[in-house]
Amino acid sequence: MKRRMAKDTLTGWSMKAAVLFANLLVFLVALGLLYKARPILASKSLGHLLTSSSWHPLKGEFGFYPFIVGTVEATLLSMVLAVPMCLLAAIYLAEYAPRRLRESAHIVIDLMAGIPSVIYGLFGIIVVVPIVREIGLALGKQNTGYTLLSGGVILAIMVAPVIISVTMEVLRSVPAEARETALALGITRWAAIKHVVLRHSMHGVLSAIVLGFARAFGETIAVMMVIGNVARIPRSVFDPAYPLPALIANNYGEMMSVPLYDSALMLAALILLLVVGGFHLVAHVILYRIEKRW
């Protein structure tokens, strides 16, 4: 009896420890990055580093602004392209499509989510980049095709399966009574979806978008392959850009003899981590508020 009780306590504790460790990991990573980024933070103020556009490592100038702009713009562009289409697709599959179509589409979408990102990158180089170049030229913009727009398009394609599949699950989990109640009032299917089903599942749909956003924000290799990687602020979507993850992946381990370079990349990683973390946090707060309301 005593032994069984002890066993129970022990399992309880070990599970608690596992949870603690997993949560602690985030803080450990952040602390490690902060520690390694200290030298550059000591040489320049954080404000200066974040707002300066001058990136000349050999001269000791590390302005992160173009990278931050590149990351944010590529992500926003991908969201603008992906979210409306994904929501429409998910609503169609969850609410209108016959069961067979829904199930087969689900398989394809899950498959898309599992494709390694380097393959999306190759697809980008072979298909997206030439098309974007042609469009750009047709609009009178000199460009190589390796542009912010190509990055946004690739990201949109990559986040689509996440957003569609999560949104679909969320909509399917809305109780049948919701639809019945709404339709029984004699309103159209679309009105029922808009006013009742979507409103009821707002939390989940926003979560789906947040998941997509986080994926796009941190995505590295595929974007790096198509976006051009030029450390300048893009003036239009047909200019190249250089997102933070690409900066880190391209340079870490390469130019380590340059003083402070290593530290600068660590700071870049820290910024990335904090932004994604902060975004999640804000999203949670918003979702919590919405949840509490209805």
Binding site: P175, A176, E177, E180, G186, I187, H195, R199
Partner: protein, 282 residues
């Protein structure tokens, strides 16, 4: 001719028959109870009246359901008008994800009903109904002074009609989901009535409710039958005895027997009805 006339109605789920050759007229301005053991097709019969069966894949229907003489499954049928005419209460109430107030105005707003805007028209309409402890003239006077007078009055009227007004009048802006489940069901009733149906379909409307709330709903039904025809599905025999004027007994997808409640309960003809009423089958 009664509002609802069902003729040779068959409904299938895939190849599985759910309703077999149902023919019956539902009397107007009465409470009609559909009784029978679970799985006998009561709910399917109810939902094929307002075509909520359309929501399921693979449902097949043949035969006719005539509502005011129009075949609801016919090519000219307008399903939105049909559902507006036949209000529906589900087993578990579902508060629309909005305030109590908006739950009531939602239907009229979407249907762009004129009473939502015109206080005098609404007043004329309300005069046709009897609502306990409701001073309509004073309410109209007050309504005339307010900007949203007509819609406020509409909300008050239907909440009173459903017997919920006194419990919620001070928190109309609160989310409907915060009400107790018994209150939610009365809100559902008010919301249904607000689109001005002529018939109310109720699918075991008290089965999720506590006895007290159930009694309240039953009382509202009794009061409403002067102006509406009510069809209620119930598996609670005592409830049917309490409120039904007319009874349909179903068994395994068949309509076994129907008639005035007195007859069915006191002099059932079919042995299956007798067995069900005595509790031998359930």
């Amino acid at each position: 001719m009664p509002h609802i006339s069902i003729q040779n109605l068959n409904v299938f789920y895939g190849k599985q028959p759910a309703l077999r050759d149902i023919t019956v007229d539902i009397p107007d301005h009465k409470i009609t109870a559909i009784i029978g053991p679970s799985g006998c097709g009561k709910t399917t019969l109810l939902k094929s009246l307002n075509r909520l069966t359309d929501l399921y894949d693979e449902v097949g229907t043949n035969g006719q359901v005539l509502i005011d003489g129009d075949d609801i499954n016919g090519p000219k049928a307008n399903v939105l008008e049909l559902r507006k005419k036949l209000g529906y209460l589900s087993q578990r109430p579902f508060p629309l994800p909005m305030s109590i107030y908006d739950n009531i105005t939602f239907g009229p707003r979407i249907h762009r009903m004129k009473r939502l805007k015109s206080l005098s028209r609404l007043g004329d309409f309300i005069r046709l109904h009897q609502v306990e402890n409701f001073d309509l003239e004073q309410a109209l006077e007050e309504g005339a002074r307010k900007k949203k007078g007509a819609s406020d009055l509409l909300v008050e009227f239907y909440l009173r009609l459903a017997g919920l007004w006194d419990e919620v009048k001070d928190r109309l802006g609160a989310p409907a989901s915060r009400l107790s489940i018994g209150q939610q069901q009365r809100l559902a009733l008010a919301r249904t009535l607000a689109v001005e149906p002529e018939i109310i379909l109720a699918d075991e409307p008290t089965s999720a409710l506590d006895p007290l709330s159930a009694t309240l709903i039953e009382r509202q039904f009794q009061a409403l039958k002067q102006n509406y025809s009510i069809i209620i599905v119930t598996h609670i025999l005592r409830q049917a005895r309490r409120i039904a004027d007319y009874v349909l007994f179903m068994y395994l997808g068949e309509l076994v027997e129907y008639g005035p409640a007195e007859e069915i309960f006191h002099a059932p003809k079919d042995p299956r009805t007798k067995a069900y009423l005595s509790g031998e089958i359930s």
